[in-house]
């Protein structure tokens, strides 16, 4: 579905924002309504984080301890890391569902090569290259062949997980040296900060700068808001998107290595099904599934809310796997909130005023324009 819907001005802020982001691309974002709307969403997320902290502190005395902070961060680390490139990809109007499979493939490759007595540094290089290659395949199929990213990455989701299966089969590899396993379970020397949190912070700063303070970042918003307009503005849409997918592959490979060391086990089903958790966190962060809208700060706040909530519910003996209910409910709130805001200001949607069902059939983060 095209991200710009000029015939629905009365609908939600989403539609309006998609247009506004196009303006933002020309450098007027600081004062633009789009920026202000996202600020509101981010302040809402900030309040959510505070509420979760209060809830957690009240329900368990262990919630606000450094040990628990460490556990929370270390558990959510890989999902948080994968959410960063996913943010850029969704803002550019595409999606990558293969992230958790790339994680699993990297983990399997790491175990496969280690079992064959490769030196660890050489393995790191191979795993990084494999991640980049996996991302490049996604990117080239999306940009050069012109296929919808949703379909492509559902395909590579199966393909990369399949490669992990072929590499390791039912075997597990877990005889990694303790120095490397320490990366997964020990804090940085002299601190209480886990490695994967530190890596997340560094990457978040880098991705934030690229997205918000460079021409490339602005072009990502522009192509997400309207790919056709971005093409006419001379933006190298295909190249930027391919690069985004390759970077996503590399980052997911890194997440795969961290995941492997944290569990001290390389197994083919590492990270199975986590791709939807990554997408959910990004959307919760206020990024529009249609592209062109969202901030990295929002996603970082959503990551904190996600991790904190999961941990607080764990400490309250709530069935931990059922935390999905809360995640799902938050996700629904995140998409319905803009509509409710419109209602409050009296901008009623047409379907209420006319009592008919024009409905909304929008379903996909669609690449709206043929790139040829």
């Amino acid at each position: 579905m095209a991200p710009d819907r000029p015939d629905r001005p009365d609908l939600t802020e989403n539609a309006a924002n998609a247009e506004n982001v196009a303006n933002a691309a020309s450098g007027r974002d600081r004062l633009g309504p789009a920026a202000r709307a996202s600020l509101r969403w981010e302040s809402g997320l900030g309040l959510l984080v505070i509420a979760i902290v209060i809830f957690g502190a009240m329900s368990s005395p262990r919630f606000l301890t450094t040990g628990n902070f460490f556990n929370t961060a270390v558990t959510a680390g890989e999902i948080a890391i994968m959410a960063l490139p996913m943010t850029l990809i969704i803002i550019s109007g595409e999606i990558d569902l293969s992230v958790a499979s790339i994680l699993g493939m990297s983990s399997a490759l790491l175990g496969f090569l280690w079992a064959r007595h490769w030196p660890m540094l050489a393995i790191f290089v191979v795993v990084a290259l494999a991640g980049i290659l996996a991302g490049l395949i996604n990117g080239l199929l999306v940009t050069r062949v012109g296929l919808p990213s949703l379909a492509v990455t559902i395909g590579t989701l199966a393909l990369y997980r399949g490669v992990a299966l072929i590499l390791l089969g039912p075997n597990t590899v877990s005889d990694f040296p303790s120095g490397y396993i320490g990366i997964g379970i020990n804090p940085l020397p002299g601190t209480q900060i886990p490695w994967n949190l530190a890596i997340f912070v560094v990457l978040a700063v880098i991705f934030g700068i690229v997205l918000h303070f460079t021409a490339t970042g602005r072009s990502i918003y522009a192509m997400g808001a309207s790919q056709e307009a971005a093409l006419f503005a001379g933006i190298r849409v295909k190249r930027v998107k391919t690069t985004l997918y390759a970077v996503s592959g590399l980052v997911c490979a890194l997440a795969g290595v961290l995941w492997t060391f944290r569990l001290a086990t390389a197994v083919q089903n590492n990270g199975l099904g986590q791709e939807l958790a990554v997408v959910a966190v990004v959307l919760l962060g206020g990024v529009s599934i249609f592209g062109g809208k969202g901030t990295l700060a929002g996603v970082v706040l959503a990551v904190i809310a996600f991790a904190g909530l999961q941990n607080a519910l764990l400490l309250t003996n709530f069935n931990q796997e059922a935390t999905g209910i809360v995640i799902g409910a938050l996700l629904l709130v995140s998409v319905f909130a803009p509509n409710l805001a419109a209602l409050r200001r009296g901008r009623l949607p047409r379907w209420i005023r006319r009592r008919t069902h024009p409905g909304g059939a929008g379903g996909h983060p669609a690449p709206a324009v043929d790139q040829t």
């Binding site: 296929l147 490669v163 939807l276 319905f336 324009v369 043929d370």
Partner: protein, 349 residues
């Protein structure tokens, strides 16, 4: 994508112009027959290598394994054709499977009651999805991603650490997938009939055609006075009901159900639908194609077994097939576009 979608619009929604009628027919032929040809060739090659692939027992096994899969593919097709997606079917299936099967142990109900319960659960989930997408005007990918988590969470809360075991299920229930007539499982016949009805509905009923029109271009469909919201709502309700029904059949087939039943199945079903030639952005494809897609994926699984190839290859092969299918579809539609352009310029001169 605009160009492909526009071109498909001719084949699906609007009455085709006289000039493009032949081409339109060709699109349909290619879309439907392509996957069938692949399937036939695949079966022929596998049988040539290993004749036991077409044993009566193996065919029965294959058909039974495909029933739930193909049924879900039908529901997903109805949704995808309207340019939406339903990611919640795996979770709905899991919830329906556990609740309906546990009714036998706790309430000693009859088989029809279990089916009614499963269908009701699925319908309720589908209605919730449909209401949020159609009236809330929220992208279906996000809504059904959320309900995927919520329904699975509810399932986990209900199930806890329990599971339904085979011995609590009555024979009348567990025999459903096993009963055969002339060697063909009853269930496979029933599902084939259901898919046939679904395909006929999509192809020939006004509201079915309107789903294609919505999928081709939602704005144009709205301007053409098609009740977009109502149609999309119905599509989700049907998809949910089908997922609920599939959950009961899943329970009858696997008999041991815990809270993880059907986890991740949604993406497998979408793969089958796309391999079967349904365009992921709607407006094109058929229920028969999707069913053959499901049949192809599960016969690959079966063939790997028969050929003695490690089943570990299945995942990679099905992923590769999906990529191949959409790439071929893209190449063909580009070629058709070029042909159309040549033809129209020929008319102009």
């Amino acid at each position: 994508m605009t160009t492909t979608v526009t071109e498909r619009q001719d084949s699906a929604g609007a009455p085709p112009g006289t000039g493009s009628r032949k081409l339109t027919e060709r699109v349909f032929r290619i879309r439907e027959s392509g996957i069938i040809v692949v399937f036939v060739v695949f079966v022929a090659v596998t049988t040539a290598v290993k004749p036991s692939f077409l044993d009566e027992q193996n065919i029965q096994f294959l058909l039974i394994n495909t029933t739930v899969f193909a049924l879900l593919a039908l529901g997903e097709t109805i949704v995808v054709v309207s340019r939406n997606v339903d990611l919640s079917i795996g979770s709905v299936l899991g919830l329906s499977a556990y609740v309906s099967a546990s009714m036998f142990g706790s309430h000693h109900v009859g088989v029809p009651v279990a089916f009614a319960v499963g269908l009701g659960i699925g319908l309720a989930c589908g209605v919730a999805n449909g209401l949020m997408v159609a009236i809330g005007r929220v992208p279906s990918l996000v809504v059904t991603l959320a309900t995927l988590y919520i329904v699975r969470g509810v399932d986990i809360l209900i199930v806890g650490g329990n599971q339904v075991n085979a011995q609590t299920l009555p024979d009348a229930f567990t025999q459903i997938p096993r009963a055969t007539v002339l060697g063909v499982p009853y269930l496979a016949i029933a599902i084939a009939v259901v898919i046939g009805i679904g395909a006929y509905y999509l192809r020939s009923f006004r509201s079915g055609r309107e789903l294609y029109a919505i999928g081709s271009n939602p704005e144009a469909a709205r301007l053409a006075a098609i009740p977009v919201g109502r149609r999309v709502f119905t599509a989700f309700a049907v998809s949910g009901a089908i997922a609920g029904l599939a959950g009961v059949l899943w329970a009858a087939q696997y008999q041991t159900i815990d809270s993880s039943a059907g986890t991740g199945y949604e993406l497998t079903v979408i793969s089958a639908v796309v391999v079967g030639g349904v365009a992921i952005f709607g407006g094109s494809g058929s229920a028969v194609g999707a069913a053959v897609g499901a049949l192809l994926l599960s016969s690959i699984n079966s063939a790997l077994n028969v050929l003695g190839i490690s089943p570990l290859w299945l995942e990679a092969i099905s992923g590769f097939l999906l990529l191949l299918a959409i790439t071929l579809d893209r190449v063909i539609s580009l070629r058709l576009q070029a042909a159309l352009r040549r033809r129209s310029s020929g008319v102009g001169t």
